[in-house]
Amino acid sequence: MLKTKLTPEQLDQFQAELDALRSEVAADLGERDATHIRSVVREVRLNAVAGRGLLMFGFDPISFIVGVCALARAKILENMEVGHNVLHGQYDWMGDPTLNSQQYEWDIVCDSGHWRRTHNFEHHSYTNILGQDDDYGYGLLRMTGDQKWTWRTLLQPIWYALLAIGFQWGVAIQDLKLGRWFKGRMPKGELAERAAPFLKKARSQLYKDYVLFPLLAFWNIPRVLLGNALANLIRSLWTNAIIFCGHFTADAQVFTKAEVAGETRGGWYLRQIQGSSNLEGGRWFHLLTGHLSHQIEHHLFPDIPAPRYVEMAPRVRDICARYGIHYNSAGFWRQYGTVLWRILKYALPVERRLRLVRA
C-alpha cells in the first residue's frame, strides 16, 4: 500500500473537513459523556472489589478463575478506557478534579507524568516518524525495513514475547531513555532523576498487589499472590496486543523526518490516518480496548472522549474515501496476525535499505 499524496489545496480542504467534524462533536459533549466515564469508573471499582474479594475469601478453583478475570477486567478497563483517555484530557471539560488529565494517577507501574510526556507529547505529535517516535518498536523491535538490522534482531520474536508479558514495565521505563544511557549519551545524574517517579510508582504498585492484599488474606497468601500476578499478566498481554494493532499492522506507514518537514495540520491529520489502524468488533470489545480499536479516530482527535470515536468513524471513513486515502480497518485476529508476521519477517535481514536511520 502506497502513501497517498494530496496537493496543498486538497490538504487544506481535507483539514477543514476534519476540523469541522471535531468541532461538531466537541460542541455536543455533555451529560452523556460524563455519565459514561463515571459508570466505567464504577464498573472498575466493582470489578476490583469483586475480584479481590473472590481471591481473598474463596478456596475453590472456580472462584479463583472468576476472581482473576474480574480483577484483570478492572485493570484493563482502568488502564484503557479510564486512565489512558483521562490522561489525554478527554474529560477535562467536566471540571471534575478526579477525572482531570493533570491530576489522575492510574493503576499501572507507569508514572502518569512519564506517560503524558512519552505518549501524549512524543508519540502523538511524532506518530510513526522513525527516530522521533519511541513507540515505533520501543527501541527493541525492527518493524520496517527502514530500521537497522543487527544480529540481535534475529531473536526479536523472543524480545517481543518478553515485552508482551511485561508490557506495563516496558512503557514504565520508556521515559528513562535507557538506550541513551547505555550509549553513554546521558549526563551523569540524569538517569536517577528520570527514574525517581518510576521507582516510586513501581514500589506502590508492587506493594499493593504483592504485599498489602496478600497479607490482608494471610490464610490465603499464595492464592492471592498468584491471582494478582495472573491478572497483571492478562492485562499486559491484552493491552500489548491492542496497542501493537494500532501502528504495526501490514498497511500502517512509517515516515522520515525529511518527509514531515513543514507539515501543516492537514498533513499531520493525513500522517495520523496512514500510520494507524482500526479493529472491528462489538460494543464490549471496543470498551475493553478503551476504544483504541478506533486508533485512527483517536490519533486524529486524541482529546475527544473515546466513545465518540464509534460515531465519528463512518464519517472519517467517508472523508478518506473521497480523498483516496486508505482506511486501515479489519478484525482483531486478522490485524494482529499481520503484526506478528511483521515481527517475524523483519527479524530477518530483509528490505535493508542504504538509508541509515538512527534509532
Binding site: L29, G89, D92, W93, G95, N120, F121, H124, K208, L212
Partner: protein
C-alpha cells in the same frame, strides 16, 4: 497551639487511615462516591446542603432556604459561598451572598436573581426543587459593618441587597443600638427584593430607616444624595459603577475609611477581534506579569517574557501546557472557541488573549 488527648488520638487515627500504605483501600474518591450514592448529604467534599424551601421574592428572583449538615462551619452576616452545580456534565461554580443572618437553627438562605443569558442562575431557577442537595463551599468574605458608635448607612442596588439583608437581620437580632439608614435602589416596586420583610422591620424597629429609590420613575440613583450621610459608617453593595461612585464621593470628602463595598461585575467581554492589542497577563501562582499581544500565543508571550511554562507539542495536542484561566477572555485559535467564564482550562500554546487575563501559572 495545644492539642487535647482526644484531638491527638483523632490526628493519629486519621494519619493511619489516610496513609499511602493502605491505598487503594482508603481511596478518598471511591469512598466519597459510595457515600454520595447512599445519601448525598453524607458527602465529605465541601458542604452539602438540602433545599428546605424555595421562595419567589420577585418575578425574577428566588430564595433557596438551605439546611447544611453538622459539619457546616457557620458564617457571619455579609459573607458569601461558592455554589457548585453540574450543568450538562460540566461542574460550574458561582458565588452567592448568604442573605440570612446566622441563626440557632443553622438555616441558610441564598437569593438568586435570574440574569438573562446567565447559565447558573437560570439553571438554579429551573432545575432545583425542594429536597434537592446543593454543594456549597465554606463561607468567605469580610463584608461587615465596623464596630463603633457612628450611625450606619447601608446602600444596595438590585440583587446587591442580599448580603445587606443578612447584615440587617443580624443587627436586629443582636439589638444593635446604632441608627441605621438603609437605601435600596431597584427598577420598580415589583423588583424590590425582601420588600415585605424590610417594611415590617422599618415599622417595628425605631433605629431603622428605609428609603427606596425606583430608577424606572426617579431615574438613575445619584450618589450626591448621600452628601448629608458622609458621617456614617457605610456599606455598599451593587454593580461596580455604583460602588465606585460611592467610594469616590467618600474619598473626596476625606473619609475614605468609612466606606466598605462589595461589587459584582458581568463577564469580561471580548474586545472584538483585537489581534493588534496587547493585554496584561497576571500569573497568580508565581506572581509574575507579562504582556501578550492578541496575535501571539500565550505560551510564546510567556516565554518571551522569560517565563518557562510546561509545554510539549506546541500544536494543541498533548495538553502539557494546559492551565486554569482564573479570569478574562481567551480565544482558542485551533477551535475558535472563546473562553470567558472564570476558572476554565485553556491550552497556552494555541490560545491568545482577548482581554487582560489571570492565569493559575
Amino acid at each position: 497551639m495545644t492539642t487535647s488527648p482526644n484531638q491527638r488520638l483523632w490526628l493519629g487515627l486519621s494519619r493511619v487511615l489516610y496513609s499511602p500504605w493502605l491505598h487503594p483501600l482508603n481511596d478518598a474518591d471511591a469512598w466519597e462516591r459510595l457515600r454520595v450514592w447512599m445519601n448525598p448529604m453524607w458527602s465529605r467534599r465541601d458542604y452539602p446542603a438540602r433545599v428546605l424551601d424555595i421562595i419567589d421574592e420577585t418575578p425574577d428572583t428566588r430564595s433557596f432556604v438551605l439546611k447544611p449538615t453538622a459539619r457546616w462551619p457557620g458564617h457571619r452576616a455579609g459573607q458569601h459561598v461558592v455554589v457548585e452545580v453540574e450543568i450538562n456534565g460540566r461542574r460550574v461554580h458561582r458565588s452567592f451572598s448568604l442573605s440570612s443572618a446566622p441563626t440557632p437553627d443553622r438555616r441558610l438562605r441564598i437569593t438568586v436573581k435570574r440574569q438573562p443569558g446567565a447559565r447558573v442562575s437560570g439553571w438554579l431557577h429551573e432545575h432545583v426543587r425542594i429536597g434537592d442537595v446543593l454543594r456549597l463551599s465554606a463561607p468567605t468574605g469580610r463584608f461587615a459593618p465596623a464596630e463603633g458608635a457612628a450611625p450606619l448607612l447601608l446602600l444596595s442596588a438590585g440583587s446587591g441587597i442580599t448580603p445587606l439583608m443578612a447584615i440587617v437581620e443580624d443587627l436586629h437580632r443582636r439589638g444593635d443600638p446604632r441608627a441605621i439608614v438603609f437605601i435600596h435602589c431597584c427598577r420598580t416596586p415589583a423588583d424590590f427584593i425582601f420588600a415585605d420583610r424590610l417594611r415590617v422591620l422599618a415599622a417595628e424597629w425605631p433605629n431603622f430607616e428605609l428609603r427606596v429609590h425606583y430608577s424606572a420613575s426617579a431615574g438613575r440613583f445619584d450618589v450626591r444624595q448621600l452628601s448629608d450621610l458622609l458621617h456614617c459608617q457605610t456599606l455598599v453593595c451593587g454593580p461596580r459603577a455604583l460602588t465606585q461612585n460611592v467610594e469616590a464621593l467618600f474619598l473626596a470628602a476625606g473619609v475614605k475609611d468609612q466606606v466598605r463595598s462589595e461589587s459584582y461585575s458581568g463577564r469580561v467581554l471580548p474586545h472584538g477581534d483585537a489581534t493588534q492589542d496587547s493585554f496584561g497577563v497576571h500569573c497568580s501562582v508565581t506572581e509574575q506579569v507579562f504582556t501578550a499581544r492578541g496575535d501571539t500565543s500565550l505560551l510564546e508571550a510567556a516565554e518571551a517574557a522569560g517565563l518557562k511554562p510546561a509545554h510539549g507539542c506546541r500544536i494543541g495536542i498533548c495538553k502539557t501546557c494546559q492551565c486554569t484561566k482564573r479570569s478574562g477572555t481567551a480565544l482558542n485559535l485551533r477551535t475558535g472557541e472563546i473562553s470567558s467564564e472564570p476558572n476554565e482550562l485553556i491550552q497556552l500554546c494555541i490560545s491568545v488573549a482577548r482581554s487582560p487575563l489571570e492565569l493559575a501559572l
